[in-house]
C-alpha cells in the first residue's frame, strides 16, 4: 500500500478525489452558513473540480520545489539517475521524461477521443437512431472534438519538450520546475474534461457557443473548466519553450542555423502563449454567466452572443496553426534526412512559419461569416484568410525542391511524412473555398468543413506525429520500431483516412450538416456514411497495430543505439537512449544543419575540455 502510494500518479489521483470532496463540502457548508439552500450541484461541482485539480498538483509534488523556495530553503534539483522506470509515473524535472510523459498522455487522449469517434460513427452508419440517445451523441461528438484537440496540444508539447533542448544542445529546459508543473496541470485537466460525461454531458459541440451552452447540463462546466486548466498548462509550457530557444542555445547556433523544427516550435509557442488566454476568458465568462447570472452573452440582459464567438475564435483559429506548425516543422526536419539533400530554401521555410503564425492572428473572423457579425468585417477577414495560403505554399514548394534530385529512401517515417504532405495539401486546398464568403455561406457547418479540418489536422499533425514517433523512438528507448508492422500501420491508415475525409467533403457538398445525430435519408448519403464508418474502423485498427508494434518493440525490438537514420542533428551524434543531462560535453555549431551531400561537412562538434 505504502509502495503504491509512493507512486506519484496514484498519490495525485487520490489527492484529487480528496480535494474534490473537500471542495464540494466547503461550498455546501458556506452556503449553509449563509442560509442559502445548501445543495447547489453546479457551483459545488465547479468548486470541487477546481480544488481537486489544485490538490492533484500539490499531492503529486509538482510544487514542492517552489514551496521550499518560498520558505527560503535551498531546493536543488534531485538526482534522478537512480529512479529507473518510476520517473515516468511521478514528478520528474528531466525534459526527456516530461516529453515522454506528455507523449503518453497525448496517445491516451487520442485513443479516448478516437474511441468516441468510433462510437458515434457507428451511430451514423445508418439513418435513424440506433443505440445512442441524442444527448449521448452530442456529448460524444463534442468531447471527441475537444479531447482530440487537447490531445494534439499535449502531443505538440511532447515533441517540443523532448526535442528542443537536445536540438539546441542544452542540458534541459530553461525552467524545469515550471515544465513539470505545466505537464501535471494537464492531467487533472483531462480528467475534469472527461468527467463532464458523468455530469449529464453537454450538447454544444467543442465550440460551446452561448446561449446554448448556458442552457446545457452541468457537464458543460466541467468541459469549460477542464479546457481552461489545460490551456493554462499550454501557456506555461510555451513560455518555457520560447525562453529555452532564446537563451539556451549552444555556441554558434545562430538563428538560421537552428534545426528547422525549432522555428516551427517558436511560432507555435508564440501563439499559444498569447491567444490561449482568450479561449480561457471566453469560457470562464460563460461559467460566470451560469454561476452568477452575469449577462455577458444573454440577449435578454442586452448581452451579445457574437462577442463570445470573437473571443473564442481569436484563440481557436490561431490554435489550428499551433497544431500544424510543429507538424510541418517535423516534415521539413525529416525530408532532408531521407532525401539525403539540404532543405531547400531554409530561410524561407523558417520565416514562413512566422508568416503563417502572424497572419493567423488576423483571420479568426472566417469562422463567423454566417454568424451575423458586423457586415463590414467579412471582406477583410476573407482577404487575410486567403493570404495564409502564400506562406503555406512556400513550404510545399520548398519540400518539392528538397526532394528534387535527391537520393530518396523510404523507411516508415518517410512514408508518414509523404502522406502528411499529400493529406495536408488536400486539407489546405479546401481552405480557400471556405475563405471566400459566398462559397462559405454554402459550406459552413456542413461536413465539408469537417472534411477540411480532418484533412488539415491529419496531414498537419497526425501523420507527422507518427512519423516523429517512428523516427525518434530509437532515441527515446534505444530500440527500433518494427518496420513491417509500421508499413502495415501506414498502408491501413492512409487509404482509409483519405476515403474518410474525401467522403466527408462529398456528403457535405450534398447538404449534410455537421453535428447531427441523424440524417435525412432523402439526401442519399447513407452509403457514403457506411463507408466512412468502415474507414474509421480501419484507421482505428491501424492505430491498434501501432500500439502492438510499440509494446512489442519495447521488449524485443531491434537494438538501435547509434545514428539510425545517419542524421546530422546533434541528438543523433550521441548514443541512444539519451543520458540524463543530454550532452556530457558542450557542443559547438560549426556548419549548416542540413548540408547533406556536401562532402566532409559537419553541423556540430563537441568541445573537448582541455
Amino acid at each position: 500500500m505504502r509502495k503504491f502510494y509512493s507512486i506519484g500518479l496514484v498519490r495525485g489521483l487520490l489527492w484529487q478525489i480528496l480535494g474534490t470532496a473537500i471542495g464540494i463540502g466547503i461550498l455546501t457548508g458556506i452556503r449553509y452558513l449563509l442560509g442559502l439552500t445548501p445543495w447547489k450541484p453546479e457551483s459545488a461541482c465547479v468548486f470541487g473540480a477546481l480544488l481537486g485539480a489544485l490538490f492533484f498538483v500539490f499531492g503529486i509534488g509538482a510544487v514542492d520545489g517552489w514551496i521550499k523556495m518560498a520558505a527560503g530553503k535551498e531546493a536543488p534539483e534531485p538526482d534522478e539517475s537512480s529512479w529507473g522506470r518510476s520517473r515516468y509515473f511521478g514528478v520528474s524535472l528531466d525534459h526527456k521524461v516530461i516529453g515522454i510523459q506528455y507523449l503518453i498522455l497525448s496517445l491516451v487522449l487520442m485513443v479516448v477521443g478516437g474511441t468516441f469517434a468510433m462510437i458515434f460513427r457507428s451511430e451514423l452508419a445508418n439513418t435513424g437512431m440506433q443505440f445512442l440517445t441524442l444527448m449521448e451523441y452530442n456529448t460524444l461528438m463534442s468531447l471527441h472534438g475537444m479531447v482530440m484537440i487537447i490531445g494534439i496540444l499535449v502531443g505538440v508539447a511532447a515533441f517540443m519538450n523532448y526535442l528542443i533542448p537536445m536540438m539546441i544542445g542544452a542540458r534541459d529546459m530553461a525552467f524545469p520546475r515550471l515544465n513539470a508543473f505545466a505537464f501535471w496541470l494537464a492531467v487533472p485537466a483531462s480528467i475534469i474534461l472527461l468527467s463532464s460525461m458523468a455530469l449529464g454531458g453537454f450538447d454544444t459541440g467543442w465550440t460551446g457557443y452561448p446561449p446554448l451552452s448556458v442552457r446545457a447540463p452541468i457537464g458543460i462546466q466541467m468541459f469549460f473548466l477542464g479546457v481552461s486548466l489545460a490551456g493554462m498548462g499550454t501557456i506555461l509550457s510555451s513560455l518555457n519553450v520560447i525562453t529555452t530557444a532564446l537563451r539556451m542555445r549552444a555556441k554558434g547556433m545562430t538563428g538560421f542555423r537552428l534545426p528547422i523544427f525549432v522555428w516551427g516550435a517558436l511560432a507555435t509557442s508564440l501563439i499559444s502563449l498569447t491567444a490561449t488566454q482568450l479561449i480561457g476568458l471566453s469560457f470562464q465568462m460563460v461559467m460566470f454567466q451560469r454561476l452568477f447570472g452575469m449577462g455577458f452573452f444573454d440577449p435578454v440582459k442586452g448581452g451579445n452572443p457574437i462577442l463570445f464567438q470573437h473571443l473564442f475564435w481569436f484563440y481557436s483559429h490561431p490554435a489550428v496553426y499551433v497544431f500544424v506548425l510543429p507538424g510541418l516543422g517535423i516534415i521539413s526536419e525529416l525530408l532532408p534526412v531521407f532525401a539525403r539533400k539540404p532543405l531547400y530554401g531554409y530561410k524561407w521555410v523558417a520565416i514562413s512559419s512566422f508568416g503563417i503564425a502572424l497572419i493567423g492572428f488576423l483571420v479568426w473572423g472566417h469562422h463567423m461569416f454566417a454568424s451575423g457579425m458586423a457586415e463590414y468585417l467579412r471582406v477583410p477577414f476573407m482577404y487575410s484568410t486567403l493570404l495564409v495560403a502564400v506562406p503555406t505554399g512556400v513550404k510545399f514548394f520548398s519540400w518539392l525542391g528538397t526532394l528534387w534530385r535527391g537520393k530518396i529512401v523510404f523507411p516508415v517515417p518517410m512514408l508518414f511524412v509523404l502522406a502528411g504532405i499529400v493529406v495536408f495539401l488536400l486539407g489546405g486546398l479546401t481552405g480557400p473555398p471556405n475563405a471566400t464568403i459566398a462559397t462559405d455561406l454554402q459550406l459552413t457547418d456542413t461536413y465539408f468543413i469537417v472534411g477540411h479540418f480532418h484533412d488539415t489536422m491529419f496531414g498537419g499533425y497526425i501523420f507527422p506525429f507518427f512519423a516523429a514517433i517512428y523516427y525518434w523512438f530509437p532515441k527515446m528507448t534505444g530500440k527500433r520500431l518494427n518496420e513491417t508492422l509500421g508499413k502495415v500501420h501506414f498502408w491501413l491508415m492512409t487509404p482509409a483516412f483519405i476515403t474518410l475525409s474525401t467522403l466527408m467533403m462529398r456528403i457535405g457538398l450534398l447538404g449534410m450538416r455537421r453535428r447531427i445525430a441523424d440524417y435525412d435519408p432523402s439526401l442519399g448519403v447513407t452509403i457514403d456514411n457506411r463507408v466512412m464508418t468502415v474507414a474509421g474502423f480501419l484507421i482505428a485498427l491501424s492505430i491498434l497495430t501501432f500500439f502492438i508494434n510499440a509494446f512489442w518493440s519495447l521488449r524485443h525490438g531491434e537494438i538501435a543505439t547509434g545514428n539510425v537514420w545517419n542524421s546530422r542533428s546533434p541528438e543523433w551524434q550521441v548514443p541512444s537512449p539519451m543520458p540524463i543531462h543530454n550532452y556530457d560535453k558542450p557542443l559547438e555549431v560549426v556548419g549548416e544543419p542540413y548540408d547533406y551531400g556536401l562532402p566532409d561537412s559537419v553541423y556540430v562538434k563537441f568541445i573537448e575540455e582541455e
Partner: protein
C-alpha cells in the same frame, strides 16, 4: 556599467510618481468636467509607458549578454527576466480581452460607482507602486532596513486596495453581478484584477519574509525584482481599468 548614486535613483522614483499622480488627477478632473473619452483613453498609455520604463525597467530585457558565461548568475537572471515578461505578456491578453468585452458591451456607458472611492483605491495602488520601486532600489543598494520598510508599505497598501474594492465597493455598489450588463462587467473586471492583486500580495509577503531572513543581497535579489515588477504590472492594468470603469462615458441605466 557605472551605477548612478542611490539618492538620484530614489529622486527619479519620486519624480515619476509625481507625474503619475498629476496625470491621475487630470483624468479625474476631465471626467468630472468635460467627459472627453478620447483623452481619458490616451492618458493610461502615457502612465503605462512611464511605469514600464522607469519602474519596470523594460529596457533591461534588451541588454545584450551573448558573451556572458551561460552558467553565470547574470545570464540566468536575464533568462528569468525573459520568462517573467513573457508571462506578463500572456497575462496582458486576459485583461485585453476583458477590455474588449467592456468596450463591446458597454460602449460609452459605465457602471454607477462611488467616484471618490474609485479615486481613493487608485491613489492607494499608485502609492504602493511607488514604494515597491523604492523597495527594489534600496535592495539594489543593499539597504535592507529601508527595503523591509518599503515592501511592508507596499503590501499593506495592496491589502487596503483589496478592502477598498472587494470590501467596500462590491458591497455598496447599487447592483449585483446579475442585475445588468454594467454590473456583470464591473464584477468580472474588478474580480480578475483583484485576484492578481491578491497573488501579488502573497508574493510580496513571501519576499518580505525571506528578505527579513536575509536571503537577498544587492547582487542576488531576483525574488524581489520579480515580485516588484509583477506588482507594477498589476498597477498598470489598473491604470486602464480605472477610467474604463469609473470615468469614461455616461451612467448605464
Amino acid at each position: 556599467m557605472e551605477h548612478p548614486s542611490k539618492s538620484s535613483v530614489l529622486q527619479l522614483g519620486i519624480l515619476v510618481f509625481g507625474a503619475l499622480a498629476i496625470l491621475t488627477a487630470v483624468e479625474f478632473v476631465i471626467a468630472l468636467t468635460t467627459n472627453l473619452w478620447q483623452v481619458l483613453a490616451i492618458i493610461p498609455f502615457v502612465k503605462a509607458g512611464l511605469v514600464l520604463y522607469y519602474y519596470m525597467h523594460i529596457s533591461r530585457l534588451f541588454e545584450n549578454d551573448e558573451d556572458v558565461d551561460k552558467e553565470s548568475f547574470a545570464y540566468k537572471l536575464a533568462t528569468n527576466r525573459i520568462g517573467l515578461w513573457l508571462f506578463l505578456l500572456s497575462d496582458l491578453f486576459i485583461f485585453g480581452g476583458l477590455m474588449i468585452s467592456r468596450i463591446n458591451l458597454l460602449g460609452l456607458t459605465r457602471p454607477d460607482l462611488i467616484q471618490f472611492l474609485g479615486l481613493g483605491v487608485t491613489t492607494i495602488l499608485l502609492i504602493s507602486s511607488f514604494f515597491a520601486n523604492r523597495a527594489e532600489v534600496s535592495m539594489e543598494y543593499g539597504d535592507r532596513k529601508q527595503f523591509l520598510v518599503s515592501i511592508t508599505f507596499t503590501m499593506t497598501l495592496g491589502i487596503l486596495f483589496l478592502i477598498g474594492v472587494l470590501g467596500v465597493e462590491w458591497r455598496l455598489a447599487p447592483f449585483g453581478p446579475s442585475t445588468n450588463l454594467a454590473g456583470a462587467i464591473f464584477y468580472v473586471m474588478t474580480g480578475f484584477h483583484a485576484f492578481h492583486v491578491l497573488s501579488g500580495v502573497i508574493f510580496l509577503a513571501i519576499v518580505l519574509r525571506n528578505g527579513a531572513h536575509g536571503l537577498y543581497s544587492s547582487e542576488k535579489h531576483w525574488g524581489v525584482e520579480a515580485s516588484v515588477v509583477y506588482w507594477h504590472f498589476v498597477d498598470v492594468v489598473w491604470f486602464f481599468f480605472y477610467p474604463a470603469l469609473y470615468l469614461i462615458g455616461t451612467l448605464a441605466k
